[in-house]
Symmetry: C2
Subunit: 362 residues, 2 copies
């Protein structure tokens, strides 16, 4: 808006996708964040605050075009004609902080951060242009002990927030296992791998037949909308379906085993390990590596007293973020959630994470 | 930066004027803010959070030129080609919020807010491009009882933060008294009034002779730099100097009276009231109105048990913000503050505020 056509008395209004937060919600959020902080600090995580603004190039792939500097992020130039942006997550600023201070940081470096992030997107239901994230990361720990620790921490945090044992479950998998599966099915193109991975991610919601359709030509949903599939060959589809069928059987078995005493759970959970019937020829090298990492994590869980009622290996977990390279996990609520009218709500995972090696390249 | 000349691996660095905040400082700040919140909530103030981004026109005078959209604030356009800006304080968003929700708000509406604000300025010593503000405001209270309440609240807050009685003092004045003084001295031009007001504001630091120079032709400081003055006539200067001389005597007298028992303080403080020797012809109508408002506030302080050792009327207090229209106050630390090397630090006021009528024009 230029000065010339500026209204004399502009209407008081918030831009769409942005919201004022009232006292009740602020207090509830503060209390929740205070609880989460307390649990994370008991595990040795320290707070870190980075500013809202970073050099745009430090935010990685969201480098704006000169013609469209606001694609995805809010960007602007400073007096020195350098592009600045509002952070769109707390991970890119962490990578910048670690790269800048690598020499002086204790290793492993454990930090948590909570604060607003900004997305320059069309706002819609549940899509805001400013919202709060809470992130905790361990930097410089090559052993999967750090990944196991984060899963146990997630379980402790949910219980500190008032969830009872059995009302949640932390589901763990490893990207290498999934990559190994795609290797073994000889899926070569990046696009087909991506679409196949996304199809596997929907097992929970669409079931085996829904995933099979998305691995093949595609799927029409109840509303009649058609989603194009990965167009895999019949052998490729059947290899993945074989894995997923066994994965589902394993999930059911682990669910049942969760009701046993802890010592029996430990024995029962070993049966999961290589997924019933799968042998080493089923996976490529990285698939086996992923299985071994999961096996080590399983050991940490049981030796620390976290049973199958709290943390389970679930071969169908994928997670959306493309930069994950190893263990991934998500926490799901197992008790049904309803809205004010008693209608069930599908919440999705309430906590999630994973290992991403190589974010800070030095 | 265009994609073409983007470096392959950009150097990890923060833009100037922005800072990462480490664990120790985060904890100290959280503890301090928690204490301040607790005291403000005990006075019935409720938290409110507004987003970081507002329509630029809602931020008032900082409306950017089309050619220089970043003058003073960080601004950018959204998909609808509307100018958005990062807030530069918490007052303009409050005005927007009150205008938008006026009908449904309880009156008076008391809210506090703390959070980052952004300034697009050349960073320098003590000048940052992101920093935290804590604001508390009462909306829709026409009586000066609300102003007196904020002064008492400031005193309580400083003590809750660990300051002892006598280590701080809340100094109160009224802009109407100062405007009345300038009226009476027949200072007509806006520029001269502004420069004269700024000169009075420096009484603390420069003493009577320094202010006299700034009311006249100007002043050369120790480094040899010359500051141009208000160029007032001799009669105008002497009227103001007469007021300031008596004001200084009053300040000394109140300082001494602060050591008396509370009941005697109340009597002694009445002597201040019209400033020794000043009669009603000294002030214009708004000057007298300001004096009456101060007198009512003085009554609230004593009837609530806040003696001269905590809150004093000080005729030399001005405050920088141009939008103040009535009572103004600031809290100064009276104990000397030293840096790590034992050198004294001049801190200035640690809390300040005032009444601004007319921010939300409806």
């Amino acid at each position: 808006m230029t000065k010339k056509d500026a209204p004399v008395s502009p209407e008081a209004r918030l831009p769409k996708g942005l919201f004022d937060i009232s006292a009740g919600e602020i207090r509830a959020t503060e209390e929740m964040l205070g609880t989460i902080r307390r649990v994370f600090e008991s595990y040795g995580f320290e707070p870190l605050d980075t500013p809202a603004i970073e050099y745009t190039d430090a935010l990685g792939k969201f480098l704006p075009d000169q013609d469209r500097p606001n694609e995805g992020v809010f960007s602007f130039k400073d007096d020195d004609e350098q592009w600045l942006s509002l952070r769109y997550d707390l991970t890119a600023p962490l990578a910048r902080y670690v790269a800048e201070n690598f020499q002086s940081l204790p290793k492993p470096f454990r930090r948590y951060q909570s604060g607003p992030v900004w997305r320059n997107e069309k706002p819609g239901p549940g899509r805001y242009r400013q919202f709060t994230q809470f992130d905790a990361d361990t930097v410089g720990a090559s052993s999967v002990a750090a990944d196991a620790e984060l899963c146990m921490l997630a379980a402790d945090t949910l219980e500190a927030l008032g969830l009872k044992r059995g009302q949640y479950v932390i589901k763990v998998n490893n990207r290498k296992v999934l990559e190994g599966l795609l290797d073994q099915a000889e899926i070569e193109t990046g696009h087909q791998r991506l679409v196949a991975m996304r199809a596997i991610d929907k097992l929970d919601r669409l079931g085996l037949e829904g995933v099979r359709a998305l691995l093949g030509e595609g799927r029409k949903d109840e509303s009649g909308d058609f989603t194009k599939g990965a167009d895999l060959g019949a052998t490729q589809v059947s290899r993945i379906m074989d894995y997923l069928t066994k994965a589902q059987q394993s999930v059911v078995k682990m669910e049942a085993a969760a009701k046993l005493p802890l010592s029996e759970q430990a024995i029962a959970s070993q049966e999961y390990h290589l997924i019933e019937g799968a042998d080493s020829t089923f996976y490529s090298g990285q698939g086996m590596e992923g299985e071994q990492e999961l096996e080590r994590m399983r050991g940490f869980f049981f030796s620390s007293g976290y049973g199958l009622d709290r943390i389970r290996i679930d071969p169908s977990v994928v997670r959306g973020l493309e930069y994950y390279t190893g263990p991934v996990f998500e926490a799901d609520l197992t008790a049904p959630i309803t809205d004010e009218k008693g209608q069930p709500i599908r919440l999705g995972s309430v906590v999630s994470g994973g290992r991403y090696d190589g974010l800070v390249e030095r």
